[in-house]
Amino acid sequence: MKRARLGRLLGSSVLGLAGRLPLAWGASGWDELNMPRGVTSASKSIYALHMMALWVCVGIAVVVFGVMIWSLIFHRKSRGAVPDVTLTHSTKVEVVWTTVPVLILVGMAIPAARLLVKINNNTDPQVNIRVTGFQWGWRYQYLGTTVSVISKISASSNAASQLHSGIRPTSVPHYLLSVDHQVVVPVGEKVRLLITSIDVIHSWWVPDLGVKRDAIPGYINEASFTIAADRPGTYRGQCTELCGRGHAYMPIVVRAVTPAAYQAWLKKHSSPRARRPRTPRQRP
């Protein structure tokens, strides 16, 4: 009985895998292989740096592995290769293979350092949001307003993730990547996050925004992003610091809207007389 189920599971998975693999090489499948370009200037620059580093590594690999493979093929004992036992030292070669890597590293470090300084510039934000991680969800407070959003995993994902739920993850829209209340931000405006935590260390990450910053009790970390004005949309991420049982179940969903729509949303959800900030209505 059990074995049959395991067999069926294996069979279906292997078939499913075979069916889906070609997709990985199609246009849509690229996302399964590489870092997303994202929708902020930071994320696009990070993508460019990542690709540059990747190609530099590929280049070095081709040269080094090329020499190794040459040796493995042509300097084999079975081919009658005679060892050149005098070849034990060469100052010239050693100087070259010390200095050339240094130059390559300097070439990589300069753009990386420039970008690092650039994306850590958190001055002059137009929107300030305090992000508080907790076990297990996120609270977003829009500074200077009364709006506050408590964002937890969506009911449908939560139900499907339970032990013995019997719900297939693929039948749930954005399984483990959807929340009950999304955080709304304007496109084209600089948003600064002030990130902290009330219990253990969490980490706020949305790949498309190029932002990952730890939420640490007793600390307020800063991060900022500006979503390109032509890229309104929904961007999803997850907690990336192990924070206990619910670590996999505290997603982040950012909905980027036009500044006008953002103002309208703020107005709708703020209550000037209320002492306690209200949470907006459930949004699937």
């Binding site: 080094v64 084999r76 993850p169």
Partner: protein, 535 residues
């Protein structure tokens, strides 16, 4: 002279104690080395079972074999078991066996301390594994043990900390023994710059252990007092600082990863010249490169925590110091390649593992270089890209070097040759499926899958399945290893010559096979030293 020595050695053979006393009261470096290796292999299998469970849980999206807390316990214990239970004891075992043979010493300098440092380990491992069965289960906060999460676990928490204390004491005692042995018991004429590279890398590793194991012990002790005695070292509510733990932990943690890999560099530097039939290229450069890597390992810890919000200047410093490590590491790889260049290569199992090490460790090095770039690290940090990176340097890096070392020296230990064909099977299965297992994890990390999660979004299923299938086959093929070793010891073909490898140099190959129970009680002659010194 050599004959005289051999007859003397054979006479000594009879002094071997018998029965359980031989092992419990062991002071012979070979017996202790054997016990270390057996302990390491046992823990490797247990840690491997945890890894199989993890890969089973991650086979597809929505898989629910384990409760999330149990899954977190499995990842935590997998990491701790593999680092402290498998790789480190395997290195100490190899050090025990090989350092006295390679420097011409009769034994380790402190044989009774050696006994103590081994016999602490079974208690430490028992304590650590027993924590699975206490209420609340094993610690589930990751092997990095970050507070405040670490403070949330029950009875397993002090058990793990005491286990770490014990393993730390064992490592420190072992390291003291290695340093003292190498500094004082070298044979006449064996100057520091004539020592084999395995001895050199272990000497440097031992200094790293001396420097950082106390730091780990201090850090976990402070967590213990935070939990039970009301201190607030890392408790923000009491005025403490959780990030401080990260700094202290990684000040230990980064040298620790070099503790796991430097002896591997040493073994590879022994194997490649032997099977290239050519002396190691740039011996002195190798020594200095190892020392530079060890020095740099103390000033790069911040690269494990680029997202905690360090000042930009600090991030810049840690990025540059980390990139600098690529230079001496590159020198080592280039030297190995130059050793093979215009050699006369043959591909016995030790060499196969060494060549695989060169390729796959380099891939781990490349992803390490990418991770050093802080802006990119903001995207990589805490994802499967990091998991792929460190498994590439630890599995086809450290573990393959251990396999290579065992296949290289097993004939010397046992006096018998193992089944070459089976060992090649072990190699090919390992090298193919280690890549099937870990290469897709690069894709998963880049596509956005965080590490240490028991369940994931459906778009990550394809590569997780590939990875799991690779993992199961890789795991299953490791069963070949103990089988090959046991079969060799029981019924391998006896070796007549001092060395089964025609290209091998070094004092250990001046001794008969198997190495006599008491070796080098008369120091090796200058002629032996000259023959052994290939550099």
């Amino acid at each position: 002279m050599a004959e005289l020595h051999q007859t003397a050695a054979h006479a000594e053979h009879d002094h071997k104690p018998h029965g359980w006393r031989r092992w419990v009261f062991a002071t012979n470096h070979k017996d202790i080395g054997t016990m270390y290796l057996i302990a390491a292999a046992t823990m490797f299998l247990i840690g491997g079972l945890a890894a199989m469970a993890i890969r089973a849980q991650l086979f597809k999206s929505g898989m629910k074999l384990f409760d999330p807390t149990m899954f977190n316990s499995l990842t935590t214990m997998h990491g701790l078991i593999m680092i402290f239970g498998a790789i480190m004891p395997a290195w100490v075992g190899l050090a025990n066996w090989m350092i006295p043979l390679q420097i011409g010493a009769p034994d380790m300098a402190l044989p009774r301390l050696n006994n103590l440092s081994f016999w602490i380990l079974p208690f430490a491992f028992t304590l650590m594994l027993a924590s699975f069965f206490v209420p609340g289960g094993a610690v589930a906060g990751g092997w990095t043990m970050y507070p405040p999460l670490m403070q949330q676990f029950g009875a397993a928490f002090p058990m793990l900390i005491f286990a770490i204390h014990l393993m730390g004491i064992s490592s420190i005692l072992g390291a003291i023994n290695v340093i003292v042995t190498i500094m004082n018991l070298r044979a006449p004429g064996m100057t520091l710059l004539r020592m084999p590279l395995f001895v050199w890398t272990w000497l440097i590793t031992a200094y790293l252990l001396i420097a950082v194991m106390p730091v780990l012990a201090g850090a976990v002790t402070m967590q213990l007092t935070d939990h039970f005695f009301g201190t607030s070292f890392f408790n923000a509510a009491g005025g403490g600082d959780p990030v401080l733990f990260l700094h202290v932990f990684w000040f230990f943690g980064h040298p620790e990863v070099y503790i796991l890999i430097l002896p591997a560099f040493g073994i590879i530097s022994e194997i490649i010249p032997t099977f290239s039939r050519k002396p190691l290229f740039g011996y002195e450069a190798m020594v200095y490169a190892t020392a530079s890597i060890a020095f740099l390992s103390f000033i790069v810890w911040g690269h494990h925590m680029f997202t905690v919000g360090m000042p930009v200047a600090a991030q810049l410093f840690f990025m540059l110091s980390t990139m600098l490590i690529a230079v001496p590491t590159g020198v080592k790889v280039f030297n190995w390649v130059a050793t093979m260049w215009r050699g006369s290569l043959s591909f016995e199992p030790p060499m196969l593992f060494a060549v695989a090490f060169l390729f796959l460790f380099s891939i781990g090095g490349f992803s390490g270089l990418m991770l050093a770039l802080v802006p990119s690290d903001y995207q990589y940090h805490g994802t499967y890209f990091v998991v792929a990176h460190f498994h590439y340097v630890l599995v086809p890096g450290a573990v393959f070097a251990i396999f290579g070392g065992v296949y290289y020296w097993l004939p010397k230990w046992s006096g018998r040759m193992y089944d070459m064909r089976l060992a090649k099977w072990h190699f090919w299965l390992s090298v193919i499926f280690v890549n099937v297992l870990f290469f897709p994890q690069h894709f998963l990390g880049l596509a956005g899958m965080p590490r240490r999660i028991p369940d994931y979004a459906p778009q990550f299923t394809d590569w997780n399945m590939v990875s799991s299938i690779g993992g199961f086959i890789f795991g299953a093929s490791q069963v070949l290893f103990p089988y090959i070793v046991i079969k060799c010891i029981r019924s391998g073909k006896p070796i007549e010559a001092n060395s089964p490898w025609d290209g091998a140099h070094g004092l250990e190959w001046e001794l008969p096979c198997p190495a006599p129970y008491h070796s080098w009680q008369t120091p090796p002659t200058e002629a032996m030293l000259a023959h052994g010194a290939e550099h």
